[in-house]
Symmetry: C2
Subunit: 343 residues, 2 copies
DNA sequence: CTGTTAGCGCATTCAC
DNA sequence: GTGAATGCGCTAACAG
C-alpha cells in the first residue's frame, strides 16, 4: 500500500510539510537545494500525493461527468470517442453515466449536481427541458450540451431541421415527389427531439417544393432495424407507394433495405433510400445519407467544457457544426418504371 | 452552491455533528425523535454530504476504473456496455480510460495504481504481461481482466484458440481444404494475443485434419476493412487460390467481401468467408462467424470485480465463457467450380 | 443514546 | 525561504 504521505516525505527530507507541498505544486519560493532534497525523498519513498485529499483541500474534484443514452446507437459511440480524445490529456477523469428514461434522467441530474459534483458536466444526446438547464446553472457547475436542442446554453449541435431538409431536397432534386419519411416515435417523453426536427425539415422541403406532405407517408415507430423494415413494408404497400424513402437514421435505412430485398425491389432503380448520421454501417452498405460530425461534436463539446471550467463566466457558446449530404448508391433519379409501380 | 455542510445541519437540528453523521449512515443507535429532527434539517437545508470528504475519511474512492483500447473495435463497445450495465446500480463511479500503445499502457497502469487508486480495476482487451499483474497484486487493488490472456489472475475470457479451431473446423466440415487465414499483425508489442490464438487454432484444426498450413495462406496486416480487402486480393491472386477464407474478425471478413465483389466472386458459391466476433455488422451482412458473449463478458467481469471488492481474498476466479458457431450466408459446401478456379 | 475530539492527506495561510 | 498551524467535510472512537 502506498501509505506514504506527505508527512513521511517531509520527515525524510528534514523539512516541513509545507515545503513538500510547495515543491509538489511548483511554487517558486523554495531553495534549489531544499527542493532537490525533497525531490530525492519523494523518489526514494516512491511517494505520490493522494488525489482525494488534494481534491478536498482544493475544493475541486478533477472529474468531468459524461452522460448519454449509453451506447444504444452507434452515433453515441462516435461522440463519446471524441469526448475521450479531448479529455485524455487534460488531467480530468472521465466519469461515464448512462440514462435510459426520463425519470432516470431527472434523478441522475439531481445526483450529479448534489452528490457527485464534477468540475464539469457534459450531456450528450439527451433531451432536456429549460428547467433542467436552469437548475444546472443554479448549481454553478459548467455544463455543455452536445446534440441537445436547448437554446441559451453552452452547446455544440447540428441543425437537424436543415439536415432533414437537405435529405429531402436531395430526393426532390432527383425528381422524386412521392417521398415517405420513417422516424422514431416523436412523442415519447425521452424522445429525441432531433428526430422530430429532421421530420419537420422533411415537411418543409416538400412544402417549399409545392408538395403537401401526405400523412400516410409518415410512419413512426421505435428506433430499430426490424421496426423500420416493418414500417417500410407498410408504406410500400400503399396504393400509391413512395418512390423514395427518407429514413431518419441509417439504422432505419438499413431496415428499409431489408424490406426492399423482401419485395425484390432493386435499389436505387425502383426505390431511392436516404439515411441519416453516416454511421459506419452506412458506408459499408453504400447508403446515401447526411453526414454529421459525430466525433468532432464530442471533441468540441469537451474542449468547450474545459475552457468553461477555466473561465466560468464566458458568454454563451452556441457552436453549430456543418452537415453535408453524402450521395452513395441508394439514391438515383426517378425512373418512370418506379413512378408507375403500384402494389 | 451547496456550501451547506454537516455542521450546518447539526446546528439547525441542535445536535452534534456526530449524530448527523449517524443518521446519514443509518446507525441504529439514535433516538427516533432526534433522527427525525435531523432528517428535517437535512430536508430544509437541502443538504447532501460531500463525497470527497467522505472518501478521504473512509479511505475508499468509490470508483472503478475501466481501461480499454477505446472504442476502436465494435466488440469493445459491447463489452463496455456490459460493464456499465453491471455497475449502474452498484453505487460506484465508472472512470473510463483508453490506451493505445504499450508505453501508454504502462504509464497508465502506474498512474492508476499510484495516483487514482480506484476501489477496483477492470481491464478490457489489453494485452498484459505477468509483470503487470504482479504489480497490480502488490498494490492490493482488486483487478479483473476481461479478454486478456493471463493465467493466475481474476479474469473473464473466451478461448480464442478454440474459436479459431471452431471456425476452421466449420470450413473443413464443408469440404474446404484450401483455407486461408487473414489476421492482424501478430507481433506488435500491443498486439492482441487473442488474434494470435485464433490463428493457432486455425493451424491446429488444419493439422488435425491432416492438412499442413501453407505459409502463403496466412497473411497479416493492420486491423481494418481496407487492409483486409487488400489481403484478400493477395491471397486470391495465388496460383492456387483458397476456396475459403477465415478472417480473424468480422471487420476483416467484411473486407474480404469487398474483395470478392471486386473480383466478381459470388459468395458463398465461389468463396466461403468466415468471420469472428459476431458484431452487429456481421448480422446485417449475413456473415457466418463465431459468436462470443461480448456484453456478457463485460457484465460478468464487473460483477466479479464488485464481489472481489467485498471479499478481496477470494481464490482466483477464472471464468470462461462459451463460444458458438453461427452459420449464416457466407459459408457453403465446397463446389467443384470453386475448387478448380484459378486466376 | 449523544456531543466532542481526533484524524484522513493535503494546500494554504500565517509568523519567523 | 521555511516551518507550524488551520481548515477542507466527514467518519469513527471516545467519553459522558
Amino acid at each position: 500500500m502506498s501509505a506514504v504521505t506527505i508527512r513521511d516525505v517531509a520527515k525524510r527530507a528534514k523539512v516541513g510539510i509545507g515545503t513538500v507541498s510547495r515543491v509538489l505544486n511548483n511554487h517558486p519560493s523554495v531553495h534549489m537545494e531544499t527542493r532537490q532534497r525533497v525531490l530525492e525523498a519523494i523518489e526514494e519513498l516512491d511517494y505520490a500525493p493522494n488525489p482525494i485529499a488534494r481534491q478536498l483541500s482544493l475544493g475541486r474534484t478533477n472529474t468531468i461527468s459524461v452522460t448519454l443514452p449509453f451506447l444504444t446507437f452507434p452515433s453515441f459511440v462516435e461522440r463519446l470517442r471524441g469526448v475521450q480524445s479531448a479529455l485524455a490529456e487534460s488531467g480530468h477523469q472521465l466519469i461515464l453515466y448512462s440514462v435510459q428514461t426520463a425519470e432516470h434522467r431527472d434523478r441522475h441530474l439531481e445526483q450529479l449536481m448534489r452528490q457527485v459534483r464534477p468540475d464539469g458536466i457534459l450531456i450528450l444526446s439527451i433531451p432536456l427541458f429549460d428547467d433542467h438547464v436552469h437548475r444546472l446553472k443554479e448549481r454553478g457547475i459548467p455544463t455543455v450540451l452536445v446534440d441537445v436542442d436547448i437554446p441559451h446554453a453552452h452547446r455544440v449541435y447540428t441543425d437537424d431541421f436543415q439536415g432533414g431538409y437537405l435529405a429531402t431536397q436531395h430526393l426532390l432534386d432527383l425528381g422524386h415527389t412521392r417521398i415517405a419519411c420513417l422516424s422514431d416515435i416523436l412523442d415519447t417523453e425521452l424522445s429525441f427531439v432531433t428526430t422530430r426536427l429532421r421530420y419537420q425539415g422533411y415537411c418543409q422541403a416538400l412544402e417549399d417544393c409545392g408538395i403537401t406532405p401526405r400523412p400516410a407517408y409518415h410512419i413512426e415507430d421505435h428506433h430499430g432495424r426490424a421496426e423500420a423494415r416493418a414500417m417500410a413494408h407498410t408504406v410500400l404497400a400503399l396504393d400509391e407507394p413512395p418512390t423514395a424513402i427518407f429514413a431518419c437514421s441509417d439504422t432505419q435505412a438499413i431496415g428499409v433495405l431489408d424490406a426492399a430485398a423482401d419485395l425484390g425491389l432493386s435499389i436505387p432503380d425502383e426505390l431511392s433510400v436516404m439515411g441519416y448520421d453516416n454511421i459506419r454501417d452506412a458506408e459499408y452498405l453504400n447508403i446515401s445519407t447526411i453526414n454529421q460530425p459525430l466525433f468532432e461534436s464530442g471533441f468540441e463539446g469537451a474542449q468547450l467544457l474545459l475552457s468553461l471550467i477555466a473561465h466560468p463566466d464566458d458568454d454563451i457558446h452556441d457552436i453549430a457544426l456543418d452537415l453535408t449530404l453524402i450521395q452513395r448508391g441508394t439514391t438515383a433519379p426517378l425512373r418512370a418504371s418506379a413512378n408507375n409501380r403500384t402494389i
